[in-house]
């Protein structure tokens, strides 16, 4: 309730100050700055791979099971590669107003679909024919860039599970306010009515796994927006890489003794 009231209040104010004259955003960041990213891998012992990721106030849990035999209908299995099954859900307490339907509604189904497509492109599925890889993502607290945080968390979980990937899949959002592109939007900035572009990128090759944008944007600004998002993804990939290496060090330290 607090966030919606705040955004309503802000709208009532003279112009939504997403970017002040000094170049600071609502939470004190500069235009191209990302939020603080903290992540932990192997949070669950039961799952093959798991990760917990915090991007600012957005908190996401991702769990990976697989590759295993195709459960359910045999018809779904593909003879030459693995099937990736994604389920996206938001906890009922994740948003400002209690969510009545955590999964099964259109938005969640769409998100699940997008996640599945993103990872189908990134995972080397040819190595596991007739198998299935399950990815479950749950948002514990939603404060903008939900999809991006899910992708990042799922990447870490896949790395933790030891499933071969083409590259890290890094996702980030970018917005556009008065000729300046903002990177990594929070909830207020997203719902403020401005543009929001979500981009999932494989940093080494620069290939785009998914691009999604809503709300109007003039054609000439698209380049700037895409570049800002791509740069943010590259920065993110370095952070994720650092997380993975630190985790490996910890694990190898433990096994040594």
């Amino acid at each position: 309730m607090a966030i919606t009231e705040l955004s309503a209040l802000l709208k009532g104010m003279a112009g939504l100050e997403l970017l002040s004259e000094q170049g600071y955003r609502l939470d004190g960041r500069k235009a191209g700055e990302l939020r603080k990213l903290q992540a932990r891998m192997s949070v669950f012992a039961q799952a093959d791979g798991s990760a917990y990721l915090e991007q600012g106030n957005t908190k996401v849990l991702a769990v990976v099971y697989g590759p295993h035999e195709t459960r359910g209908s045999r018809a779904k299995s593909l003879h030459d590669r693995a099937v990736i099954n994604c389920q996206f859900s938001m906890a009922t307490f994740s948003t400002a107003e209690r969510k009545r339907r955590p999964h099964g509604d259109r938005k969640s189904s769409e998100m699940s679909l997008h996640l599945k497509q993103t990872f189908e492109a990134a995972v080397l599925t040819q190595l596991y024919p007739r198998s299935q890889i399950d990815i479950y993502v749950k948002i514990l607290q939603a404060d903008g860039s939900n999809y991006s945080a899910c992708v990042n968390a799922a990447t870490l979980a896949l790395v933790d599970a030891g499933i071969p990937l083409r590259d890290y899949v890094c996702a980030c959002t970018a917005g556009f306010v008065e000729d300046t592109a903002l990177a990594d939007l929070c909830h207020v900035e997203e719902s403020g009515g401005g543009t929001a572009l979500a981009l999932a990128l494989l940093p080494c090759s620069g290939n785009i796994a998914l691009v999604q944008m809503d709300s109007r944007l003039h054609q000439d600004h698209l380049d700037k927006l895409m570049e800002a998002a791509a740069k943010a993804c590259q920065d993110l990939s370095k952070v994720l890489d650092g997380v993975v290496r630190r985790h490996l060090e910890e694990v190898s330290d433990l096994t040594k003794h």
């Binding site: 919606t4 769409e110 497509q117 990872f119 691009v211 809503d214 003039h218 054609q219």
Partner: protein, 486 residues
């Protein structure tokens, strides 16, 4: 019912055709199919035909209490249904991936882009607002449902009229259409989705894929734009890897297509079509004329099955033909039959035509025979085969081949609409379809008259060919003469 899987050879064929920049229906890479928008008798009812894809959209409205978070705004509700009549793969009440994707894309394209002024739909703030419900039904699936659905939705919304209301204190009176004219919705802009399909790991791109092309695509990029060059939504799906540079040219394309508003090219951009259609329908209504789907369906009736027969003077055909030959200036280059097909076609005035499949004519059975190394097909004429080869066979076959070829040319040039391709088997029917002046009953009398028949055909058809295609009759005769030894 599960969708029939696509066979590997069909898939390979489609991919190879795409690599050679060919499409099944002969379109270019960036060509759209013909769009037809028809409006029904009710306000807000519209059918869109994109090639063979058919989509029906109906807009309706209702007074409801508003959402708690937005008490002063109306509600827009979109619902797209894949009717089982559209494709055997669609089952009713089955939540498939395609359905989710189409629904969400439609919502994002039309709702998030704020094309409709929802604040004007408010009647009593916090208590009663108009809920506009847009129902889209897919009637026939021939690819590119997204574009068709978005066009249908936005045209139905622009066509729709909601009832007028009067507020007195807390009392709301809704007037029926007879009492007061209904009011149109206030639409800020018209976003329309354009789909780009990617093939072969993103190396090839096609606009407006048809159903077969959709089956072999790697991924899809849907961009919604409006007339003011604003991008309303971008969505990539299918897990293809795009490069940033690939998204940019797509934008350029849309820009180019938008500029075609003023030109009547084959790339029909929906905007002007929409505007003129909605105004046209309104005019029709005012004039009191008949309107609606039933009126707009074309009446297809065969009015004539018979063509007139006209006798042809056959007395001195040979002399007339020789005269024509002698009168025309002879070109210096007469290709001897032994020349290789490639060299010949490089400089020859041979009419290149996309051939219809001439089953059994011209192609030589090579089973069990040695493969001829330089057997190259002449350009795109599938039925033409290799004339060099044919000259090894009897004269009858050659003349038949030639005769069919000429027939094809003449028919194609003049009477394309009358003769459906693929029906070239029956020669007599075809001859009857040609101009009344050339009717050969000689054909029935056997092979002996074939030569004469050919001469007549030559005389008749060369003039036709010459007049229509701009080739002088000398060249067309040359063309004929070079293949035949008289």
């Amino acid at each position: 019912m599960r969708d029939t899987p696509l066979s590997n050879c069909e898939r390979l064929f489609l991919l190879q055709a795409i690599q050679e920049k060919k499409r099944l229906d002969g379109r270019q890479t960036y060509d759209y199919r013909n769009i037809k928008i028809l409006f029904g008798t009710d306000y807000g009812c519209c059918i869109v035909e994109l090639g063979k894809t058919r989509v029906l959209c109906q807009v309706s409205c209702e007074l409801v209490p508003p959402k708690d978070s937005r008490p002063t705004e109306g509600i827009l509700y979109f619902n797209l249904e894949l009717s089982p009549m559209a494709s055997p793969a669609f089952e009713s009440n089955r939540q498939s991936e395609l359905l989710v994707m189409l629904n969400r894309q439609l919502e994002r394209c039309l709702r998030n882009s704020k094309c409709i002024d929802t604040e004007s739909l408010c009647v009593i703030s916090g208590e009663k607002v108009w809920q506009i419900r847009v129902d889209v039904h897919v009637l026939n699936h021939d690819g590119n449902l997204m574009d068709a659905a978005s066009i249908a939705a936005i045209s139905a919304l622009s066509h729709f009229r909601r009832p007028d209301v009067a507020i007195q204190g807390r009392e709301v009176t809704v007037f029926s259409p007879e009492e007061r004219d209904p009011i149109p919705l206030s639409i800020y802009h018209m976003p329309i989705c354009v789909s780009f399909a990617f093939f072969l790991q993103g190396s090839y791109l096609l606009v407006d894929p048809c159903e077969r092309e959709e089956r072999v695509k790697d991924g899809l990029l849907v961009i919604a734009m409006n007339k003011h060059r604003e991008i309303c939504s971008i969505q990539s799906s299918g897990g293809i890897m795009l490069l940033k540079d690939q998204v940019k040219p797509v934008e350029m394309l849309l820009l180019v297509e938008g500029e075609h508003e003023n030109h009547s090219s084959e790339r029909i951009k929906p905007f002007p079509v929409l505007l003129c259609f909605s105004s046209f329908v309104l005019m029709q209504r005012k004039e009191g004329g008949k309107f609606g789907f039933a009126e707009s369906l074309p009446i297809e009736r065969i009015t004539a099955l018979k063509r007139d027969e006209a006798p042809v003077e056959m007395a001195d055909v040979k002399d007339t033909a020789e005269e024509i030959i002698n009168r025309t200036e002879s070109s210096t280059e007469v290709y001897p039959p032994g020349l290789k097909t490639r060299e010949r076609s490089a400089a020859s005035p041979v009419l290149v035509a996309t051939g219809t499949a001439q089953v059994g004519e011209g192609i030589v059975n090579s089973w069990g025979l040695e493969e001829d190394e330089d057997d190259e097909v002449i350009i795109e004429d599938k039925g033409g085969g290799n004339p060099r080869r044919l000259q090894n066979k009897g004269e009858l076959e050659l003349s038949l081949w030639l005769y069919f070829r000429l027939l094809y040319h003449t028919v194609r040039l003049h009477l394309f609409s009358l003769v459906r391709p693929g029906k070239l088997q029956d020669s007599e029917d075809l001859m009857q379809c040609l101009t009344p002046r050339v009717y050969l009953d000689d054909l029935e009398e056997g092979a002996g008259h074939t030569e004469e028949a050919l001469m007549v055909l030559l005389a008749g058809s060369t003039s036709m060919m010459a007049s229509s295609s701009g080739i002088s009759s000398s060249i067309s005769l040359q063309l004929v003469m070079s293949f035949v030894d008289f």
